[in-house]
């Protein structure tokens, strides 16, 4: 069904009948740390702002020069400090301002995800997206989607041991052991 809701004003009772039932109170408001590269995704977020594309207040943006700067420890730290999710935004494959930083981010995130899985952190809590400078609308969509998913998933509850420094360091070593010069398929996981 194409969206005709904005096209004609429905009589109130009809509109009420058709409206989705989202009035139920959602007690949990997630917090998402978003690492955005300055050239593409951060600029896109500025664009979203300029176009007044409202999105979930769950998002807290940390600006990096490049998604390739993303140290996996940042993600771990974000979770440890109470983030419910981490979003990483970089340039589309082939568009990196620094040639291939986004590919490096892709590999790091892939590895990190398996590590987080071992710690019982659901894969939906870590998301990588390619968002170009002109895709303000995608920032809005991705942020809202992720906030919604995390709302359903509930708050992050780390096990009693939490994220121990040792595990973090192990993960870091594991990541270093991969050959980052392998060509990797340029897709968003």
């Amino acid at each position: 069904m194409p969206d005709t809701a904005g096209l004609v004003k429905l009589p109130e009772e009809m509109a009420a009948a058709l409206a989705t039932d989202d009035t139920a109170k959602q007690p949990f408001a997630p917090t998402i740390v978003a690492f955005f590269c300055t050239w593409c995704t951060y600029t896109a977020a500025d664009m979203a702002g300029l176009s007044r594309m409202a999105y979930s207040p769950a998002i807290r943006v940390v600006r990096l020069m490049c998604s390739g700067r993303l140290d996996p420890q940042f993600v771990v730290a974000a979770f440890r400090h109470g983030a419910d999710g981490v979003l990483i935004g970089g340039c589309h494959p082939g568009d990196c301002h620094y040639q291939e930083g986004n590919y490096k981010a892709l590999r790091r995130v892939a590895l990190l995800r398996s590590l987080l899985g071992q710690l019982g952190i659901e894969p939906q809590r870590l998301r990588l997206e390619w968002i170009s400078a002109s895709e303000g609308e995608k920032v809005q969509r991705v942020c809202n989607e992720m906030a919604e998913q995390l709302r359903e998933l509930g708050p992050l509850r780390l096990g009693s041991q939490g994220l121990q420094a040792e595990q973090v360091q192990n993960g870091h070593q594991e990541y270093l052991s991969i050959d980052t010069h392998d060509p990797v398929e340029a897709t968003t996981p």
Binding site: M1, T4, L7, V8, K9, P11
Partner: protein
């Protein structure tokens, strides 16, 4: 078809933009729409005009503000009634009932044409129905807005 509408599709849209929703609701233009989707296809702004007209028709029927001499709302009701009851629509029966309800005089005028169809085996006087109309009814009734069909 726009020649037969007092408002062409873009005027219907202009009414919306100007906030004159009710004027569009009582127009005969929405009932003249044959839902051929030409406006939707040619619209450079991809406005789903045809579907919007469907919405208008629906709202007009609910509000009971459609032009009374127009056959379309009756046709729509009759059609839905047939389908709801028997799962299929029977051309002949529906035409006859419709003429009796709206324009009995026209029945005589089109009678000969109907007869020609019957003679050529192209109009069945049998009432078509499916084997499990109750099954279909259950599905349709579950979607009745006022019948707890909400998820």
């Amino acid at each position: 078809m726009t020649d037969y509408m007092e408002y062409s599709p873009h005027v219907l849209n202009a009414l919306r933009l100007g906030g004159d929703y009710e004027e569009a609701l009582i127009s005969r233009a929405i009932w003249a729409c044959t839902s051929c989707y030409a406006c939707t296809l040619y619209c450079p702004k991809k406005i789903p005009i045809t579907d919007a007209i469907y919405t208008l028709k629906r709202a007009a029927m609910q509000a009971g503000v459609y032009p009374k001499h127009f056959v379309t709302p009756t046709l729509v009701r009759e059609f839905a009634h047939f389908v709801h009851e028997s799962g299929r629509n029977s051309e002949a029966w529906m035409s006859i009932r419709l003429y009796l309800k709206t324009r009995p005089s026209q029945l005589l005028r089109y009678g000969p044409l109907g007869l020609r169809l019957v003679l050529r085996g192209r109009m069945s006087l049998r009432r078509e129905r499916i084997h499990r109309p109750d099954e279909l009814r259950r599905v349709l009734d579950a979607l009745e807005v006022n019948a707890g069909g909400r998820p």
